[in-house]
Amino acid sequence: MSTQAKIKAASEFLSDAPPGEVKDVYEDIKAIVEDDDDVVTGLGNAFQVYNTAQFTTVRVPSSSKAVIISKYNCIGPGKFFDSEIGKSFSVDYMSLQVSDVEDHESLSDNFSSIAKDMSAYVSEHYPDPSAYGVYPQSSTDDVALVIVGNKYSPSNFWNGRWRSSYKVNLSSGLIEGTIEIDVHYYEDGNVRLTTLKDIKTDFTISNIGSIVKSIASAERSYQEQVNREFGGLSDGAFKALRRQLPVTRSKIEWGKSIGTYRLGQDIGGGRANTK
């Protein structure tokens, strides 16, 4: 296998790493390729893609805020900004070390008030460690809002992450974004939930405070929908795959009498062994 192909395969493993387990996946990859330097250093790009997609947070000196790195606040290779703390900085994607901290334009009054609403909303609905970001985009009417909620419990064999990101346009009153959930539960097994929801909603243009309210409403609706889906699995998807018990409502009588089922089947018309 060529080095390029190896890096591609290893990068795909990394991109599928569950929340909180990227280091474990990285160690596994290193062991499988027997510490092949070319492959290991070739993963640099995969770490960049992973961290920006997963809304990884870093700490900038002189601020206690957990700062997200994402495509919405990226201003150059490895360079990001956060207007709420008024700083820009460089990040090493593998070590997550922050450097080259410089001053950056702070939030306008409008965006500042959105940031206050976001801070209140996130602290009310996303337990620690969670984070949010308010990122002015190139046009003054556009702002990106990002939320990441994490829950890590590797000693109990589970980890989870909620990511929301929205593009808000102040002049059209439109909000467009996505919500993604990723949960991994691996105690004596391996269970993974991944979801993706497109959100399209709006807000009252004259009332900046209605932006976060609108987002809150959309997120609550979605979470209720997810809960309903879980509730319906038993009678829905699960039953369609394998019943809890046969129609007879009792377990099978094994032994010689297993033949009597077949007889009944032939008369009633059984379901054939088909795909």
């Binding site: 296998m1 192909a5 395969a9 290893a10 599928d16 569950p18 387990e21 474990d24 596994d28 990859i29 062991a31 499988i32 027997e34 602290s123 009310e124 609905h125 337990p127 909620g149 589970w158 989870g160 949960v183 539960y185 691996y186 004596d188 097994g189 269970v191 993974r192 939930l193 991944t194 979801t195 993706l196 929801k197 609550r220 209720e224 997810v226 809960n227 699995l233 038993s234 998807a237 699960f238 369609a240 795959l241 394998r242 019943r243 809890q244 018990l245 046969p246 129609v247 007879t248 377990k251 099978i252 094994w254 032994g255 010689k256 297993i258 089922y261 077949r262 089947q265 379901r271 088909t274």
Partner: protein, 266 residues
């Protein structure tokens, strides 16, 4: 070598179970020395083949494979044909045919469709085998589902009883897509082991004994997947984002503990 193998298993346990076959292939390309060991120890979703002789479908896995050929449980022949492919002895083949019939009934009662296949092979002091089930469902309202069961067992003769060892794996994936929900993709695999000594009257007793053990463990695992695993996954989503306000919840808890401690003092 030990470390590489363990790392491969750990990686497969962390990555999305629905990609196990793709990931297994990639790992074997990265570390070809691991191929034989991984293919025989990692469970993958079952493939389907058509028996040339009977035109019926059967399931394939590592246990009915010889080289690049697979043995049909109906014709007992390999596809592509092999002049010297491994087949069970005449007596064991007879039992294999009966086992396939018995588990076909099981399949109909529990799966109401789908496919089943049973393969047996010789073992010193007994015999071994695997019971396979595969079910695919697709519905506009209930979403798409994939279920694979792999039950590998060993039977050790002990005169009037036999010692049964069963290792069962279920691989399950459910995908629902709708405008309200977006895409909801839930999958998992679970492996359990059980051992039991059971009485044996004749050859057919083995089928009844294994049948009961498979039924028990499969039902238990199905319930575990539904209640424990998917239930826990739902709880984790609730931990990620709280529907109600967190500060109200904290206040309620504080109030509750005050009431409880007041009661205790009273």
């Amino acid at each position: 070598m030990e470390d590489t193998y363990d790392a491969a298993l750990d990686l497969l346990r962390r990555l999305n179970p629905k990609n196990v076959s793709k990931n297994l292939n990639a790992i074997c390309s990265l570390a070809p020395d691991l191929t034989e060991d991984l293919l025989s120890s990692v469970d993958q979703p079952l493939e389907v083949r058509r028996c040339g002789k009977t035109s019926k479908d059967y399931l394939t896995c590592d246990y009915n494979r010889d080289g690049d050929s697979y043995r049909s449980p109906y014709s007992n022949e390999y596809d592509p044909p092999l002049s010297d492919g491994t087949v069970p002895s005449e007596a064991l083949r007879k039992l294999e045919v009966t086992a396939n019939d018995a588990f076909d009934i099981y399949r109909d009662l529990y799966y109401e469709g789908g496919l089943s296949s049973v393969y047996l092979w010789e073992m010193d002091g007994g015999f071994a085998g695997v019971v396979l089930f595969k079910k695919v469902s697709s519905s506009a309202t209930k979403g798409n589902g994939d279920w694979d069961s792999i039950h590998v067992f060993e039977v050790e003769y002990k005169g009037r009883t036999a010692h049964y060892k069963l290792t069962s794996t279920i691989i399950l994936n459910v995908v629902t897509t709708s405008s309200a929900l977006g895409k909801f993709d839930l999958g998992g695999n679970l492996t359990r082991q059980v051992e039991q000594d059971l009485p044996v009257e004749d050859e057919l007793s083995h089928i009844a004994n294994i049948g009961r053990m498979v039924e028990d463990i499969e039902s238990k695992m199905r319930n575990q997947l539904q209640e424990v695993y998917f239930g826990k996954t739902k709880d984790i989503v609730c931990d990620l984002r709280s529907l109600g306000s967190l500060s109200t919840a904290r206040e309620d808890r504080k109030l509750q503990s005050e009431v409880v401690s007041n009661l205790a003092r009273a």
